[in-house]
């Protein structure tokens, strides 16, 4: 672990000044009932970057997203948003964090199942979200156009009137990504987007995410290594609440330690026996 950090620090001095971080996480800690889920975590996301986070079950991936989005509060450490580190997320409420431009897709697709696809997107649009604003909201032509655009992006143009609850699992995933897009986010947090999708759907999801990078910053959590290979630029491996490795997908897949963590102790012991 230290090796990687040193490697990064080598040329980091000058790079640090140039790079614009959209998310800065430092010294983050969180424990549940005495069990450390996040352990002194440091993570920096560049503007426009697509970062993939992988790690075995219980590595703290979802908790990490919970901490960013304000669903749980950190025990210690800072989460800062924006290039000038001016916005501290650790004590803001969920909706305030979302309004800053941080949107999250949940692991199990979470859409409004009693509303139509169109309404789902309409409610997600980045407009004034106060009580009275929604009471007297009138849909403008621009809003309609924007929703239509998103429908095209997620390839659901002819599904606008369908009730979201009747969609297939993969379609729900796409709709949720569409709802994220409607929010015009700066940073997207995407939790296992390919789960429950066919190979073709998975590939299309990958293309969609890649097309978003650049304009948006993305953090994608995923298990499917083919999918990761398709989208990944930088991969971060999380293990027991801290960063184990950071690098390109090839570096990561070749790393002995990562393989060990993923495949368990048994594997490494077998190897020892063999040698």
């Amino acid at each position: 672990m230290t090796e990687v950090v040193i490697n990064e620090n080598d040329g980091a001095e000058e790079a640090h000044d140039k790079r614009e971080f959209i998310l800065t996480v430092e010294g983050l800690n969180k424990s549940f009932d005495g069990f450390k889920v996040i352990n002194d975590l440091n993570l920096y996301i560049d503007r426009g970057e697509l970062r993939t986070i992988i790690g075995p079950n219980g590595a703290g991936k979802s908790t990490f997203l919970d901490l960013i989005t304000g669903r749980t509060r950190p025990d210690s450490g800072t989460i800062e948003f924006g290039p000038d580190h001016s916005i501290k997320l650790d004590h803001m409420r969920e909706y305030e964090i979302n309004r800053l431009g941080i949107s999250r897709k949940f692991q199990t697709p979470s859409v409004y199942s009693h509303h139509s696809v169109y309404e789902n997107l309409m409610m997600s649009l980045n407009r004034d979200r106060g009580v009275f604003a929604t009471l007297f909201y009138r849909e403008s032509a621009a809003d309609k156009a924007r929703i239509h655009e998103i429908l095209e992006t997620i390839r659901m143009v002819d599904q606008g009137d369908r009730v979201a609850g009747s969609l297939s699992h993969g379609q729900k995933q796409w709709l949720e990504i569409g709802m994220l897009l409607a929010q015009d986010p700066k940073l997207l947090l995407v939790d296992e987007p390919a789960a429950g999708m066919t190979d073709e759907e998975t590939e299309r999801t990958g293309e969609l995410l890649l097309s978003l990078a650049g304009d948006h910053s993305l953090i994608v959590i995923e298990h499917d290594m083919d999918f990761v290979r398709q989208i990944a630029t930088t991969v971060t491996v999380l293990h027991q609440g801290s960063i184990l490795r950071e690098g390109t997908i090839d570096q990561i897949q070749a790393d002995q330690k990562v393989v060990e963590v993923y495949l368990g102790r048994q594997h490494s012991r077998d190897e020892e026996d063999a040698s």
């Binding site: 549940f32 979802s62 949940f106 199990t108 979470s110």
Partner: protein, 561 residues
């Protein structure tokens, strides 16, 4: 029926019967009394004094009073003069039954049939003037002669508090001969209080010191009076600064002792209320953890338990000839019986309605409320609208006094029983395979089912168990008040609160929150009165939930909603 007889005998032996020795003393006293009533006025004084010396408090006070009032008559069939007691009663018919003074039994003729008399036609027995003067003094003092040390001690203190110079002499006299330490202590306290009014200066100061040493609550008002008299100059006494300080210090020290006792008493009452709440809420907490919803019919399960106690009382009264024996024993039967009936009721409820609603928690709240309405009205139709009385066995009625604090047996029993129930439930939940399945089903029914646990059966048993606990609560509530169809309703809101504050399906949380709510309630009641106390508790709970919305021990889940 041999079985019935055997049971009766065994129980009689177990319980023990009235002590015969005491009976003999009473008979002696009655003989002297009879003699005194029939004696010439000259002999009466001596006989009455002899009577007082027996120390038979009850007979002396009751009969001397009656004699003075003129309720004692002479019944003389065939010139045999029998003193009888005919209680005065304005509504009573002219002809009524009487009690023979010598035996204490109802007056009968040779055939053993009760005889009624008309007081108008009888000779009234009037005590002689000289003897009558003695009566009030004798009735006051008789307790000092009692064979029972408790009565002696009580009477010594009571006489002392009268601050009467004559009685002070009697107390001092008794002190010379008394051996019993408890009585000696009461004497000392009584004498000290009397000395406050009649003692010499040295005796007075010694009395103040004694009262302080004894933390005498009884002496507190006498000390207060003394202080007031000194302040207002109503007495010739003049205290110097030291003496005055001693007096103030004594009053203060007794007051702080009183506060301490009050505190312990409040804690005890709070604890016993909390114990009732624990029993009521524990079952609720279990079904809550199981269903994710409050069972609104839980209150009616309590009522089922209470009515079962009533039924077992009626049943015992009908099979056991001795009503006293039935009263002493039915309760032991009522406890398991109530548990079983309530558990059965719960089982039926679960099978008929609740099993279909595990996936729709809020609706099961509404359906159980519907059931609670049906049951309440059902109770009214079966048992009548009026409340039914369930009598407590005598061993739950008394109380024990330790260090001036009164501990009621029923309260002690409730605490003791709550501990057993909590420990039993805890063991069941943590140490048995059944408990393991229950906890598994509570946490994740689907996973539990996948692991081969029969969730249907587990839910059924758990629900029946929770309802059975409610039945047990019903038995205790039947001892505190009368049994009516609304019995459960008055406790149900409180137990909702207990469960919500404690956290979902958590035994420790339930116990802590029940005790907390019980003690807070009792602590607030003296200052605010029962209703405002209740309201304050509710407000405190609402504020508490601001701080800890999931209760003391919230359950955590990783899914989104």
């Amino acid at each position: 029926m041999p079985l019935r007889k055997t049971i009766c005998w065994v129980l009689l032996v177990l319980l023990g019967i009235a002590p015969y020795a005491a009976q003999a003393d009473e008979d002696a006293a009655r003989a002297i009394l009879t003699e005194a009533i029939l004696a010439s006025s000259n002999d009466q004084v001596a006989l009455v004094e002899e009577l007082a010396a027996t120390g038979e408090t009850e007979i002396v006070t009751n009969y001397l009073e009656a004699w003075k009032r003129g309720d004692i008559y002479i019944f003389d069939p065939e010139s045999k003069r029998i003193p009888i007691y005919v209680p005065e009663d304005e509504d009573a018919p002219a002809l009524r039954s009487a009690i023979v003074v010598e035996t204490g039994e109802v007056l009968v003729n040779e055939l053993g049939e009760p005889v009624t008399v008309d007081p108008e036609n009888l000779d009234q027995a009037r005590p002689a003037r000289k003897a009558r003067k003695l009566f009030s003094r004798l009735t006051d003092l008789v307790g000092l002669n009692s064979a029972n040390p408790d009565v002696r001690a009580e009477s010594a203190l009571k006489l002392g508090l009268k601050q009467n110079q004559d009685y002070l002499r009697d107390l001092l006299a008794l002190k010379e001969t008394e051996k019993d330490p408890a009585v000696l202590e009461a004497l000392e306290e009584g004498i000290a209080v009397s000395h406050l009014a009649h003692g010499s200066r040295e005796e007075l100061m010694a009395a103040i010191a004694t009262l302080e040493k004894m933390n005498s609550l009884a002496g507190l008002s006498a000390l207060g009076n003394l202080k007031a008299e000194l302040d207002e100059g109503q007495t010739e006494l003049e205290f110097n600064a030291d003496e005055r300080a001693a007096l103030d210090k004594t009053i203060e020290s007794i007051n702080s002792y009183l506060a301490k006792i009050d505190f312990i008493g409040t804690c005890f009452r709070g604890l016993s209320l909390g114990a009732v709440l624990v029993i009521v809420a524990l079952g609720l907490a279990i079904t809550f953890g199981l269903m994710g919803v409050i069972n609104m019919a839980h209150g009616e399960m309590i009522a089922v338990g209470a009515y079962s106690a009533f039924l077992s009382q009626q049943f015992f009264a009908s099979i056991i000839d001795s009503s006293k024996l039935a009263l002493e024993t039915y309760f032991l039967f009522a406890i398991p019986f109530s548990f079983v009936t309530a558990a059965l009721a719960g089982l039926i409820l679960e099978r008929s309605v609740i099993q279909f609603l595990y996936k729709r928690p809020l609706e099961s709240l509404l359906a159980t409320w519907g059931i609670s309405l049906i049951l309440q009205q059902g109770f009214r139709l079966v048992f009548g609208a009026a409340n039914r009385q369930v009598n407590s066995p005598s061993w739950l009625l008394g109380n024990i006094e330790i260090l001036d604090i009164t501990f009621g047996y029923n309260r002690i029993f409730v605490i003791f029983f709550a501990v057993i129930i909590v420990v039993g439930t805890w063991l069941l939940m943590t140490r048995t395979p059944l408990g393991l399945s229950i906890r598994a089903v509570m946490q994740d029914p689907e996973m539990a089912s996948a692991m081969g646990i029969r969730i249907d059966r587990t839910r059924m048993i758990t629900f029946a168990f929770g309802s059975g606990l409610a039945g047990l609560a019903g038995v205790f509530l039947s001892q505190i008040g009368s049994v009516g169809s609304n019995l459960g309703q008055s406790y149900i809101v409180d137990s909702f609160m207990v469960v919500v504050v404690g956290g979902v399906g958590n035994i420790l949380g339930t116990v802590l929150s029940a005790l907390g709510i019980g003690v807070t309630d009792q602590a607030l009641q003296p200052a605010l009165g029962p209703v405002m106390g209740r309201i304050t508790v509710l407000v405190i709970i609402i504020i508490f939930l601001q701080w800890k919305p999931g209760g003391l021990f919230p359950s955590r889940s990783r899914s989104l909603d």
